[in-house]
């Protein structure tokens, strides 16, 4: 299986008030295409920072990130935005849907940004909402949906541009146990059926166990990598 993502010795520190926090102190790993990877670590281990760097939302101080053969650090801000739009999908802990748009419009948004024709965008968004099991709630606004439903909309939005890589930051962190498991199973199902690569950041060991591999992160360093037997 080809390597989709190669992270080489990345370091990142940021300022929090007067203290400089060394969030990542040299992290390296690779992800295969179609893999379901979990990044497990306690809070403050740097796992969110890692996800932001992989997701091209921020640039590391040092190191290289090779996504799909491209060194993303050499790209301009606009090119990074384009990369996020077309190659990467984000799923957040707090769902992060736009409150004034309906479920359908939220899923359509990345297509609109990519200038996909309106009719085509509508069809695509509908299809994905049906895929995540929300075919009947297309025109509901986020405030009219449950947490689990909102996260499904977010998953549909993350997948709508057919990204190479889907990044999930504590996707179950704001859900009750049952909804959380539904989401994890949905992601796993999408991974298996659509051969979609997932990187899921979590602090929940049980969630991580669903993955193909688990990367243990502590104090900004990779503590260990474990393959989960099927």
């Amino acid at each position: 299986m080809p390597v989709l993502l190669d992270v080489r010795n990345i370091k990142k520190s940021y300022r929090m008030g007067k203290v400089i926090v060394q969030a990542l102190r040299g992290v390296s790993f690779s992800v295969m295409e179609g893999e379901f990877l979990a990044v497990l670590g306690p809070s403050g281990s740097g796992k969110s920072t890692l996800l932001h760097l992989i997701g091209c939302l921020d640039r590391p101080d040092e190191g290289e990130i090779i996504l799909d053969g491209k060194n993303v650090l050499r790209l301009s801000d606009d090119e990074l935005a384009e990369l996020r739009l077309k190659r990467i999908g984000f799923i957040f802990q707090f769902f992060n849907l736009l409150p004034r748009l309906t479920a359908l419009e939220n899923v359509e948004l990345p297509l609109m940004l990519a200038r996909v024709p309106e009719r085509e965008a509508r069809e695509k968004a509908k299809k994905l909402l049906e895929l995540v099991g929300l075919g009947g709630r297309l025109n509901h606004r986020p405030s009219e949906l449950s947490g689990g439903e909102q996260q499904r909309v977010a998953i549909a939005r993350a997948l709508v541009n057919d990204p190479k890589l889907v990044l999930a930051d504590e996707p179950t962190g704001n859900l009750d146990t049952k909804s959380g498991w539904d989401i994890v199973n949905l992601m796993r199902k999408l991974n298996e059926e659509m051969n979609q690569t997932f990187i899921v950041v979590t602090h929940d060991q049980k969630v991580a166990e669903v993955a193909d591999r688990i990367i243990y992160l502590r104090d900004g360093l990779v503590e260990g990598i474990k393959s989960v037997p099927r």
Binding site: D58, R84, F90, N96, R100, L109, L113, R115
Partner: protein
């Protein structure tokens, strides 16, 4: 993102903050209303004044007086002066006037000895005067002397009618009496001029005209008998250059050439300046609206920081975020501008009605001279002004929206996502 989608989202966001949007738009409406009202009223007023001036003067006739404000009164003009002016390029007709003021010592009376209403005796060539001032030098009754025969008189309207009584009619005899009968010249009234109407320099209501040959007898200086020379030019646009040629012939400040087109141009220029000044003051209210937009949008950017982070995370470029916020500013500008144009239109008529009562000529002069009609205070809407105001509204909104929109576009996505 497609412009239609951008506008759609902007509209959605504006709708979500209804009260804020309405108030911000209102400030733009007030700004545009002010500009439209001031500009259209100014334009209307300017047009009215200009029209009145053009009505009061013959634009192709110059009036040459001896002396000037700088050098004081001078003696009259000689025949050679008149001949010189005749030779200037673009001059089509020149006619001199001899003016003799009527005083205690020189009176104009009818057969019964009653004084006529005239203030001035004018010695003219009737045919030339008719050619020079075809609209103004016209008869109400009687006829002009055909060959400028001596002993004929043409009266101004107010010269023949005193206190609504005709004191000298066509065919009547009138006399010029010097020093209570020391000398006496008799004339026959051959016609009465039509009422002069609006003010202007060539209003002949209080004149009594006699042939120039008769007037020379009254003149003190027989060598330089003419007090006024009327000069007709081929085209009003040539008036000022002809005036300069005339002035060159005489020693500095020894003549005054009255050029109606120059006067109208000056007055129009001043009114234009006043109008611009008022519009500039009106524009300040739009600037204030702009600051309001900047303020409200800065708040909106802060409130929507997280949303901006989401947009960036899912792939919106900086310029897309910028356009989203500018689209909101644009919508406020377009809506505020359109409503403002409409309310400005209404306000102009409202103000015109109110103002009309303040700018009439003072009561006394209206009573004495009923021919001075009311000043019309109708606003004049030029599509150019409407367009300028509309573009101005949009420009202000965009310019003031630019700072907050740039601020939004430049937000760091990670920090924006973390924002609570």
């Amino acid at each position: 993102m497609k412009p239609s989608k951008l506008l759609g989202m902007a509209w959605l966001n504006l709708k979500h903050r209804k009260l804020r949007t309405v108030l911000t738009t209102l400030s733009v409406v007030i700004g545009i209303t002010t500009i439209i009202a001031v500009a259209s009223l100014g334009e209307g007023f300017r047009g009215e004044i200009k029209q009145r001036l053009e009505h009061g003067f013959e634009l192709d006739v110059l009036i040459v007086f001896p002396g000037s404000f700088v050098a004081g009164l001078r003696e009259g003009f000689s025949q050679s002066d008149v001949d010189y002016i005749k030779g200037i390029e673009n001059v089509t007709l020149v006619t001199p006037l001899i003016t003799v003021p009527l005083t205690e010592d020189l009176e104009l009376c009818n057969e019964t000895g009653a004084k006529l209403g005239a203030f001035t005796i004018g010695g003219v060539n009737f045919n030339e005067m008719r050619e020079l001032l075809p609209q103004r030098f016209t008869l109400w009754k009687g006829e002009f002397p055909v060959e400028n025969e001596t002993g004929k008189m043409i009266l101004g309207y107010k010269a023949s009618i005193v206190n609504e009584t005709m004191v000298a009619d066509v065919g009547g005899n009138v006399s010029l009496i010097l020093s209570h009968g020391f000398m006496r010249w008799n004339f026959t009234v051959s016609g009465v001029l039509a009422k002069g109407g609006t003010s202007g320099i060539t209003n002949f209501d209080y004149w009594a005209f006699i042939p120039i040959e008769d007037a020379i007898k009254l003149a003190r200086n027989k060598e330089k008998p003419y007090q006024i020379i009327l000069v007709k030019v081929s085209n009003p646009q040539k008036a000022e250059s002809v005036a300069m040629e005339i002035e060159k012939h005489f020693s500095p400040y020894s003549v005054t050439v009255f050029v109606p087109t120059a006067l109208i141009r000056q007055v129009d220029g001043i009114l234009n300046l006043v109008q611009m000044f008022l519009v500039a003051i009106g524009s300040i209210s739009l600037l204030v609206a702009g600051v309001g937009i900047m303020n409200i949008m800065t708040v909106a950017v802060m409130e929507r920081t997280r949303e901006i982070g989401i947009l960036k995370a899912i792939g919106a470029k900086n310029r897309t975020v910028l356009s989203m916020f500018l689209a909101e500013a644009l919508l406020i500008g377009v809506i505020g501008g359109l409503i403002g144009e409409f309310t400005g239109y209404l306000l102009s008529y409202g103000l015109a009605t109110v103002l009309a009562n303040f700018i009439q000529p003072s009561g006394v002069s209206i009573a004495e001279r009923p021919e001075v009609h009311r000043i019309e205070m109708a606003p004049s809407f030029s599509s150019l002004w409407m367009l300028i105001a509309f573009i101005f509204a949009i420009a202000i909104c965009i310019i003031f929206g630019l700072y907050p929109a740039r601020k939004a576009a430049k937000l760091n996505p990670v920090e924006a996502l973390r924002y609570e």
